[in-house]
């Protein structure tokens, strides 16, 4: 059943001690049935935003409504409508998967008979039937994430919050999770609010993306729209045998900033767009620099991030890790 209301936030702010503005004025609107990707580096404010929208933290300022209910004044109603799989899988290692689901169902007021059925159904759906009666401490990371998702769906929420759901998972587990999330939105009309630091995840799953940095949304739209805004393709040149790659790099760097996108060659983000391509070819030819391969890549979400914030998402990750307080 498709929800009638999605997620709306207006001027959302959350400060912590020491005047830290983890969320610094966020406006967003997620339509019912949409998969909204919230992309940003560590420390950008993604999880704090999720905590506010899921009622775990009150906002310091601003308003938000989830499933038509105000997060500050109608917390219990919001919680009845949402499911959440937060950053930590938050499981009890001593309970089995089935026991987790029965507990979750019981706390949501599902009858004893229906709990059994619902637990079995969800375990089947996430592929944990065989492991259902094993203690969670024996589960792999992927299994824990799948159980986490099943728990979030126990009471058939209309809105699902997923906070970095595939961090640390192998590619196979990640793909499986993506398929399930996409199916939930497509077939069951569940609204999904997904936070991630992985470009390809946002690209693959999200109908629309909000890019967040330092607590603010710096860009928002579909992936195509965002990339189209930034007319900054990347050119990659693989030097031919016998050609000095430093010489190729020197030539290309005249046309833009070097990126790390090419392990075997040189990659540069063109400062003036695709028009420079012809000039690059002429420059390489003029200086006798032979290339085995020359590729033109369309802008990525990282390019979008760079254009909006002045730094790449990877660089922002390193910065965030360096700034992170010691535990």
């Amino acid at each position: 059943m498709r929800a009638q209301h999605g997620i709306e936030a207006e001027g959302l702010v959350r400060t912590f001690k020491g005047d830290i503005r983890a969320v610094d004025g966020i406006d967003l609107a997620v339509q019912p049935g949409e998969i909204y990707g919230f992309l940003g580096p560590n420390g950008a404010g993604k999880s704090t935003t999720v905590h506010i929208l899921t009622t775990l933290l009150p906002p310091s300022a601003g308003h938000a409504r989830v499933a038509g209910f105000d997060v500050e004044n109608e917390g219990p109603a919001v919680r009845r409508s949402i499911g959440a799989a937060l950053q930590e899988a938050a499981l009890d290692p001593i309970l089995t998967g089935r026991e987790h689901l029965r507990l979750q169902c019981a706390l949501h007021g599902i009858s004893r008979r229906e709990r059994k059925v619902r637990a079995a159904e969800l375990l089947e759906r996430v592929g944990l039937t065989l492991a259902a009666d094993r203690k969670v401490k024996g589960y792999s990371g992927g299994m824990k994430r799948r159980l986490d998702l099943a728990l979030a769906l126990a009471h058939r929420p209309t809105i699902l919050f997923l906070d970095e759901p595939t961090t640390g998972l192998d590619p196979q587990s990640r793909s499986a999770l993506w398929l399930e999330v996409a199916r939930l939105a497509r077939e069951e009309g569940v609204t999904v609010f997904l936070t991630t630091q992985y470009l390809e995840e946002a690209d693959a799953l999200a109908d629309r993306i909000g890019i967040i940095d330092h607590g603010r949304i710096v860009a928002e739209g579909t992936t195509e729209d965002l990339k189209a805004e930034i007319d900054l393709p990347t050119v990659e040149a693989i030097p031919a045998d016998g050609t000095d790659s430093a010489a190729v790099a020197r030539i290309l760097e005249r046309f833009g900033e070097r990126t790390d996108g090419s392990p075997k060659g040189v990659s540069v983000r063109l400062a003036h767009g695709i028009d420079d391509l012809a000039e690059i070819v002429r420059a390489l030819d003029a200086e006798g620099a032979r290339v085995a391969d020359l590729h033109l890549h369309a802008p990525s979400l990282d390019d979008v991030f760079l254009a909006k914030t002045g730094r790449s998402l990877e660089g922002a990750q390193e910065e965030a890790d360096a700034e992170a307080p010691e535990e």
Partner: protein, 258 residues
């Protein structure tokens, strides 16, 4: 069935299941106090020859001790479990359900009380098998179990308060030496009037643990001593009330959900 009752039942069930599945945590509260009971009562048997010693069996005199020490162990285990829930984010998961805060505390303590009751039954059985005669009879046994369970509840609430306040298992474990000191600086080994060292006797007199021990002890070696029972139950209720209030306050600060 009432939603609160269901929530309390589920949390309590989880608490008991978790304890039983961790033998390394579940067994020491039964074994350690019993071992100390055996060693200390055997080692101090001759203390019954002191003038004014209230019993001719040191085992009977000392049998009250494991009830209190067992309650401490149960407190530490339960407090550590709750702190772990906070550290792992499991409390957040529970917060996102309709679970009421009071259900979390009551359910958690229901688990502690269940274990406390089982432990009390065990210690009483050990004492009876070892030949201790309960001066207050069959009714006194029920009162002992009731008082012991109340003491487990009171200390359990204290552990819950520390867990909710600190959110750290290590901090809860750090409580143990403090509680241990409180247990030993009491009338656990000798009646207060026979403690020779003045400062020790004064500390024991002001230590509420002395009255908890003496309350249980009176039922074993004296029979029905209204003053000892009133003080024992009184202090147990006082500790319980203060600890529960503190826990509720700490829970409100911990559960920042709207």
């Amino acid at each position: 069935m009432n939603a609160l009752a269901i929530q309390v039942g589920q949390i309590a069930q989880r608490s008991v299941v978790r304890t039983l599945r961790q033998p390394a945590s579940a067994i020491p509260p039964f074994i350690f106090p019993t071992a100390l009971l055996a060693v200390t009562s055997a080692g101090l048997t001759s203390a019954t020859r002191l003038r004014g010693f209230p019993s001719d069996s040191f085992l009977a005199f000392f049998l009250a001790f494991p009830f209190i020490q067992g309650a401490l162990f149960a407190t530490m285990n339960a407090g550590t479990d709750l702190a772990r829930d906070i550290q792992t984010g499991f409390l957040n998961r529970l917060s996102l359900t309709p679970m009421r805060g009071s259900a979390l505390i009551i359910g958690h303590l229901a688990g502690v009380v269940t274990m406390g009751f089982l432990q009390a039954c065990f210690y009483l059985t050990v004492g009876l098998v070892a030949g201790v005669s309960i001066a207050s009879g069959a009714l006194g046994v029920l009162v002992i179990l009731g008082l012991a369970t109340l003491i487990a509840f009171a200390f359990g609430a204290l552990g819950a308060f520390f867990a909710l306040r600190t959110g750290s298992g290590e901090a809860v474990q750090g409580l143990f030496p403090l509680l241990f000191v409180g247990l030993f600086l009491s009338s656990m080994n000798l009646p207060r009037n026979l403690i020779q060292t003045d400062w020790f006797r004064i500390v024991a007199t002001f230590n509420p643990v002395s009255y908890l021990i003496e309350g249980v002890r009176s039922l074993i070696i004296v029979g029905w001593d209204p003053e000892a029972l009133a003080l024992g139950f009184g202090f147990a209720l006082l500790i319980a009330a203060l600890s529960i209030s503190a826990s509720v306050w700490a829970l409100q600060r911990r559960l920042t959900r709207t």
